[in-house]
């Protein structure tokens, strides 16, 4: 049974930031939703309420960084790049300000629908010069994201999980590295964020079907160690399957595709994720099933890659965790 950790970000941010006068906590009216309400109450000197005004917040943060501070901006990911994209470019990314962009509700982790779901943020951030990108996939990564992000000499985009988060790993994020979760020789599976847990759900069933899976988990999406990925691709027989909580254009599927094409790798690649579609509002397990982002979707992708039906059905996979939509660990159901 996987250990569940309640509000790991709340504790981790406070432990990292409290007492460091150069770190400032900014929030745009989503303070409790981003789990920094306790920090606000206990460390008001390091907290700046910016209101629902993200464009100003982005340029203001650029000004704070110019004054030598390292602002951690907290809001839902969508609100941090869609409306204030111009400000993100001119005030943060271009001048390489040390602004830490803590984006909550990555992908379909919210029932808030299109306006709340950051489904193309990685594509956007990958295309921004000077930007680094980290994504958390478990409680340990959430616990280590602040220190990892703050080690970066420039702006960094972070996909943060909140509420009740499973613990899958026992070592912190080391920027620039990737986690090798299994070292099989048939198929390379590449996941990040919440899709890693899905891949783990399929592990036993795939093994029983006689498939040897090599599984990589990416917490660092930019910068990216292409050489290491190519080594792993070279170690498998059939090809690669990527699964991401994001559109398949511009995210880790694209990253793997570009890496393969650049190196002239002639193996097959199946990219799973949101297929040129928005999502709607619903529970996370429902959305992951509906949009083929879950363990079963991964199995079908692998079957497609090897051209064989292994007879794996939902009941053969490890149980999906069902989170309460209304939970004490979340400020609201969003």
């Amino acid at each position: 049974m996987v250990e569940m950790v309640n509000r790991p970000y709340a504790r981790a941010f406070e432990a990292y930031a409290a007492g460091n006068p150069d770190i400032l906590c900014l929030s745009a009216d989503l303070t409790s939703s981003c789990e920094v309400d306790g920090f606000r109450d206990r460390h008001p000197d390091q907290f700046l309420s910016m209101g629902m005004a993200e464009q100003n917040m982005m340029s203001f943060a650029g000004g704070l960084a110019l004054a030598g501070f390292r602002p951690f901006i907290h809001t839902f990911g969508v609100f941090m790049y869609r409306r204030p994209y111009d400000q993100l470019m001119a005030s943060v990314a271009y001048p390489r300000r040390k602004v830490r962009l803590m984006g909550f509700l990555p992908g379909i982790t919210t029932p808030g629908g299109m306006t709340h779901q950051a489904i193309e943020d990685i594509a956007v951030m990958r295309s921004i010069p000077n930007m680094s990108i980290l994504e958390t996939g478990d409680a340990t990564e959430v616990e280590s994201i602040c220190e990892a992000a703050d080690s970066i000499d420039g702006p960094v985009w972070c996909r943060i999980l909140r509420g009740s988060v499973p613990r899958l790993f026992d070592t912190p994020i080391r920027v620039g590295e990737m986690r090798v979760l299994s070292e099989g020789s048939d198929i390379l599976v590449v996941t990040s964020g919440i899709t890693t847990e899905e891949a783990l759900r399929a592990r036993v069933a795939l093994s029983r079907a006689g498939l040897s899976i090599r599984h990589l988990h990416l917490h660092t999406i930019k910068p990216f160690d292409a050489a290491q990925l190519l080594d792993h691709i070279g170690s498998v027989r059939h090809g690669v399957v990527t699964l991401e909580n994001h559109v398949t254009e511009g995210g880790i599927g694209s990253l793997v595709a570009e890496t393969m094409a650049d190196a002239g790798v002639g193996k097959r690649l199946i990219r799973l994720g949101l297929k040129d579609t928005y999502a709607h509002g619903g529970s996370r397990p429902y959305l992951m099933r509906y949009y083929d982002l879950d363990a079963l979707a991964l199995v079908r992708g692998i079957e497609g890659l090897v051209g064989q039906d292994f007879g794996i059905a939902e009941e053969h996979l490890d149980a999906a965790r069902v989170e309460d939509v209304h939970s004490l660990v979340k400020a609201e159901a969003l």
Partner: protein, 309 residues
């Protein structure tokens, strides 16, 4: 601190002469911005701003690359305003389209060599048409209008937290009040009591498409700023005495915004015939250029510019 023996009136005249000469020679330029803003920039640099001696060469270096992890020698153009020391003021030119006027100001106050203006908009030069953060006198990119005051507010908050006595100034343009971000910035500056933030706005009623009233009416800007909680002084932007008085307006606990009401053809009456398209003056014919050359040169007290080269 540099002291300038010249009067601010003289500096303003010099700014207009330089921008005029440049515009005639290049058959185009941001001429009306010199008409409206010369006193404001002259006053800031010649009197009001507390700045240290320039830290960058009088003749600007060529473009040396954009900021990146591999460009370790990168620096902004802020060194023309002196070092970013705690006691000194900082200035952002929020409408970067005023860069030509700002460069002319740097020359007039002895912070840049006249050769700098010859590099304006030349390939490979750092003296860019729309002031970039590596352009002389610039510290941040402001070519996207409306972001300057927010950046100024953030910097000012940070400097106040660090107990730096230096102020953060933003030179603004009235068109920027059409951008929602300007109001977000004022709101935040007032909410956080950022009173080491000061702005002077060139209210020339002009924007790219023409007169602001025809493009997007913005109403009573002063009343709006005051409603948002800022201190606001409204003056004739060609009246230096009024400018000196306006900055004394008490504004404890809130930013001060000086609205400098100006004419986009002040001291260059001939430009009036180009109204309402004054954002970028390009002469429509040799006849027009020759006529403007004679008329404006006479008004500025210089010989007509010899542009046969």
């Amino acid at each position: 601190m540099l002291t300038n023996a010249r009067t601010t009136e003289d500096v303003a005249l010099g700014i207009r002469r330089r921008v005029f000469e440049h515009t005639i020679r290049n058959n185009g330029g941001y001429l009306s911005q010199a008409c409206s803003a010369a006193e404001q920039l002259a006053w800031l640099y010649n009197e009001e701003l507390k700045l240290g001696a320039p830290t960058l060469p009088m003749i600007p270096r060529p473009f040396a690359g954009v900021p990146s992890a591999s460009n370790s020698d990168y620096h902004t153009g802020a060194g023309y305003n002196g070092p970013a020391a705690p006691e000194f003021d900082r200035l952002f030119i929020a409408p970067a389209h005023y860069a030509l006027v700002a460069y002319a100001t740097l020359i007039e106050v002895g912070r840049m060599a006249p050769e700098g203006l010859e590099m304006f908009n030349q390939d490979g030069s750092s003296v860019e048409m729309i002031g970039a953060e590596h352009s002389p006198g610039m510290e941040v990119h402001n070519g996207t209008l409306g972001i300057g005051l927010s950046t100024g507010a953030g910097l000012a908050w940070g400097r106040k937290r660090r107990a730096e006595p230096g102020r953060t100034w933003v030179f603004m343009s009235d068109g920027e009040v059409q951008e929602g971000q300007t109001w977000e910035a004022v709101q935040a500056a007032v909410h956080h009591g950022i009173d080491n933030l000061l702005a002077i706005m060139d209210v020339n009623d002009q924007q790219c498409d023409g007169a602001m009233s025809s493009v997007m009416e913005v109403g009573d800007i002063a009343a709006k700023f005051r409603c948002f909680g800022a201190a606001c002084a409204e003056i004739d932007g060609h009246d230096l005495t009024a400018m000196r008085d306006a900055v004394r307006e008490p504004h404890e606990g809130r930013p001060l915004i000086i609205l400098a009401r100006t004419s986009p053809f002040h001291a260059m009456s001939a430009l009036q015939e180009r109204f309402p398209r004054l954002h970028y003056v390009r002469f429509k014919s040799e006849e027009e250029r020759a006529r403007m050359n004679l008329s404006i040169a006479a008004e500025l007290g210089v010989d007509p510019i010899d542009d046969r080269h």
